[in-house]
Symmetry: C2
Subunit: 340 residues, 2 copies
């Protein structure tokens, strides 16, 4: 298993990326390569006393930043660390690619350098979020701000295969994010997607309201990228806000500080349960090779977990399963469209 | 000040509605009327030992339920408690109307019985949500699943007037919910709304990502009803889920139970801060008279606070301010549209 990692993606690059990569090599015995400016990688590793003995360096020029137009990855910045990593993945030299860099560039680069699976209309970004019961996949969380119904149906099927093969969830339950549970709720997008999802070869359990998302009753939440982005970021925002309030409540006086000391093991456990870094990154589902987009603020632990996810994704056979089933799904979609 | 209340709206009607109404009369000295089946109201009040001496009863036939098609409020169910209350409001007999009943029916009934303010394209449901700093208004949270850019601009201005006059927020800060802060983010709806909001006579501070909503840096979040509904319900869902986790952490063992006892005053305060019932209901902004939609699961306290909000809304002069400014805003919108 050979994983290539964008050394210059994210807010904490390259230090935390290098550290996370070294940890992953140690912990998972993976063959890893860091992609980017060789001198900077070597210097940063030396400063942190990290040996690069078992890590390859793939040289690349420059970085595509969060502020850059994502299109630059196939134009002026086509030699940047992210683009080069994707090229090596596309060439078959590596089995999976991990980046914590710009989401837009990751989507653009994956689509045009690594390319989509045949028949897939759009690739989607699908992180696994913590919930009351287990991790739930939300697809899409921002690769496609606007979606058509047939895209949502493809998202539903591709994520079902991912959850079944990479996460070992048997017959994963798929819900459609909506503003009510009734079949008649939502905009034309949801109405039509509902109709198609009912007939698709997956375990569709109907509409799910945002209030129920954290309960974890669904394994997969299908939605357009605009709404999915709200779900992901608002969950983070509300959790941060509430933990902040709980924290300051514990700091009120001597009594509450004692309470905090008594609660320490449970509080740590709670924090770990809510920690996105434990869940790795988001697979770019629909791309013909495993690409994992780690959170932009990934630290070494998050990066290490993203590498673990990349390994699991690559070994699971998810992509060949999607390739296999896509033609017949597209036949069904076509039939549903012409039946209207 | 005369407020009419739908006695049969919501999950806890009529008991909690009657109780909340009686509490509001006592606490705010408001003249209140309960609308609905007279016999049932009298019986329920007698069972709870609540005197109806200072509360008028407006008889009405039947109830429009959450499951009913909202259109029934102007058809087969045009004599139901919600419709009758709205008619009395429209007639000028009462100053404001409160219902905890079906949202769809409240929007439909307000629009066709009470009617919109002249020039307003669509009425919007705009609750005030708790945040880290203060209450923030989210407009729209579900009256209009699909929106056009000019509707969002009207929402921005109407809510600004509401927050300024009814909530005494000076020059309220308006943010546009989006998937990134840059002007180029989002779907065509956000792109165009951004362009128009920049020029509108309100304090537009740009795009706001869902992660920042709970921080309370904005006073108003403008969004389409589909996304707004997600914001409202997901905030509730995540809060419930986290409080559930904190609660069970406090119940782990003798040590944590002691911690809970030590933290009791702070925990109660936290709970109160997050309690939607403290914030009253959601005004249906854009309607020509004050209509407040209380939460479907309102208890007496929530209903009482919704009545308080109805009084404030009515006394604030918000509606005549909106009437005054709407023609010039619509001129600006027209100019922006033809400039394209």
């Amino acid at each position: 298993m050979k994983v290539i990692i964008d050394a210059f993606g994210g807010d904490n690059a390259p230090e935390e990326i290098i550290k996370g990569c070294a940890d992953a090599v140690l912990e998972y015995g993976v063959e890893a390569a860091l992609c980017g400016d060789e001198k900077k990688i070597t210097q940063a590793a030396a400063q942190m006393n990290i040996s690069l003995e078992n890590i390859k360096i793939i040289p690349a020029d420059g970085v595509i930043t969060m502020e850059d137009d994502p299109n630059l990855i196939v134009k002026e910045k086509k030699n940047c660390s992210m683009a080069e990593g994707m090229r090596r993945l596309a060439d078959g030299e590596y089995d999976a690619f991990v980046t914590a860099g710009s989401t837009g560039a990751a989507v653009m680069g994956s689509t045009f350098i690594v390319k989509r699976i045949k028949g897939v209309k759009r690739a989607a970004l699908a992180p696994i979020m913590p919930s009351a019961k287990k991790g739930i996949m939300v697809i899409d969380i921002g690769a496609n701000a606007e979606c058509r119904p047939e895209m949502l149906v493809q998202f539903g099927l591709m994520s079902s295969i991912y959850m079944e093969y990479a996460e070992k969830v048997k017959s994963p339950k798929v819900g459609l994010l909506n503003i009510g549970v009734e079949e008649t709720k939502g905009t034309p997008l949801q109405l039509e997607a509902y109709r198609m999802l009912k007939k698709a070869p997956l375990n569709f359990i109907g509409n799910i309201e945002a209030r129920e998302v954290p309960s974890g009753d669904c394994d997969i939440i299908v939605t357009d990228g605009f709404s999915g982005n709200i779900v992901l970021k608002l969950t983070e925002g509300v959790a941060m806000y509430l933990f902040g309030m709980v924290k300051s409540a514990f700091r009120t006086n001597a009594k509450t500080k004692l309470a905090a000391a008594l609660m320490m093991p449970q509080l740590k456990q709670l924090k770990k349960k809510m920690d996105y870094t434990e869940y790795g990154g988001a697979p770019l589902i629909g791309i013909s090779k495993p690409v994992i987009k780690a959170h932009g603020s990934s630290d070494a632990n998050a990066l290490k977990n993203a590498v673990r996810q990349a390994i699991r994704y690559s070994e699971s056979g998810v992509i060949s399963k999607i390739e296999e089933i896509m033609p017949s799904l597209n036949e069904q979609i076509k039939a549903a469209q012409s039946a209207q």
